[in-house]
Symmetry: D2
């Protein structure tokens, strides 16, 4: 028996991501790859999705894109495995269900839906570099499921801590 | 040619709804029915979903439940039309896509995902009796798409205003 | 407590339907409406879907379209209730789960998937005016779940018989 | 830029698979792995799905399971990458959309829906070791999209031929 891949979901904006979001997403993807984990995103070729998978590829990691479209055209060239859903933003529930831990970096409507769906699905959600309003909002609805981080290093540490606990159960 | 039903989605918590949420949902469903609009919810027999559909039935209205389960067992007796999705919270995208206007009453993880998905789908979202944090969070990501209301009467008025404009287009 | 609507799904081709398919779909929708049942289809404005809902409207019935698109644009004007899924042919599972009985009239790839998914979901499937190959194929995989009919009248009778038995359980 | 994985979907029954189906699925998964392609299935721990992924693992290949459930519990230990959909058989459309080529081995209701959905999505479908009725049924609805094979070797050859043509386009 072979062990299934640990999958870390990175949820964040596409076209509306800031340069800071993208830079941090790249570093996070690279760091996740170095741990031997797969990086999962919404698979589009923009913003946090694209940057995170590019970083993961640079770290020799595996990348999975859960595409909203019904073909793999226009998806990121950095998604090694392309899951084609044809469901538009309906695929956001699949992105969170398929992730062992969900990291939320940058904020837009789709990203917010993924954070909320992750809480609904009882996933551990790490809010990375979020503002005070977003943190308070998601803490109100997610309580202990919601963690806060400001750096890539701390995010990796929190993921490790969580995986250690969840494997021990 | 017959006109399609105008459908108003009421999104809110199930078991975690407060008595105030439920009372307001009942009155809102009744008021929506009196306008001749259909009331659409997540179709479960608890909280805001159940109360809104009960109110709509009392107002002789049509009710539609978009069920998360793969049978109609355990759904609300007040859903006249039961759409069975078998998709769990993945059905939240269908609830918002199928609504002409989305009203958000009460707050929990599933509800937050519906508000966010509605913004993503460019729907008009009315936050009814929400706290300051939720209003600021959704205004940040949804800007002009997000309206705020504190009473059933004002909510009905805002829906009417929006429908008048959207029909004129 | 009010009784939920009985929903009869009519599954068949869009653009590739034959004139005979469409004429029979129209008569079937009308007959279903006269029984007080709702007619559910894939909601597109072509072929069996369009004809069945047009017949149901002529019989003063309720019609439900489960749309593959992410808006209600380009859907049938004869769908009184439009459920917008944004899932493409992924919505075919919802069409069958939401139907108390599934009638299959005409044949194409989407229609075949609905017949197969209906069998998978343990629904009663009535093959209406199908050829020998289709009947043998679906009987092989669906056994007792699959009924055969050649007329609208007989289809209505088989639905009535099934509903009587399923309510008695 | 790194090349995305070629993904071959193997669709077949779970509990109802015959020993012959399972043996052929194992050999097919192994042969696919030797070509450097990923093997994609419905991810359950029974029948054709389990056997195909077990063969692929034995051939040092990558395996992807598109799970119907909303957790990865009870899924196959041979799925290295587990995509969790929570959609039941609604996930069948995702299994076919995500596959470059779809091989159909064994027959049951879920399998038939995948063959039909693959035709609908304009995928190349290879019917492996199917009976005359199934071949005639799917040829009727799928025409040139449907190929027939009786051995693992010929199936691999047909996949290669198709991939060569589709890359050349």
């Amino acid at each position: 028996m072979v062990p299934a891949k640990v999958i870390i979901g990175i949820m964040g904006p596409g076209e509306n991501a800031t340069p800071e979001n993208n830079e941090m997403a790249f570093q996070l993807g690279k760091a996740i790859a170095k741990e031997g984990w797969a990086t999962l995103t919404g698979g589009r070729r923009f913003g946090v999705m694209e940057a995170a998978m590019k970083g993961a590829i640079e770290g020799d990691g595996l990348t999975i894109g859960i595409l909203p479209t019904d073909t793999d055209k226009d998806s990121s060239n950095n998604a090694l495995i392309k899951i084609v859903t044809g469901m538009g933003s309906g695929r956001n529930y699949i992105t969170v269900l398929s992730s062992n831990v969900v990291v939320v970096l940058g904020m837009a409507a789709g990203t917010a839906s993924e954070a909320a769906l992750a809480i609904k699905a009882n996933k551990k959600v790490i809010l990375l570099s979020q503002d005070e309003i977003a943190i308070r909002f998601f803490k109100n609805i997610g309580t202990y499921r919601v963690l806060v981080s400001n750096t890539v290093e701390d995010t990796i540490k929190q993921i490790k801590d969580y995986l250690a606990v969840s494997k021990a159960q």
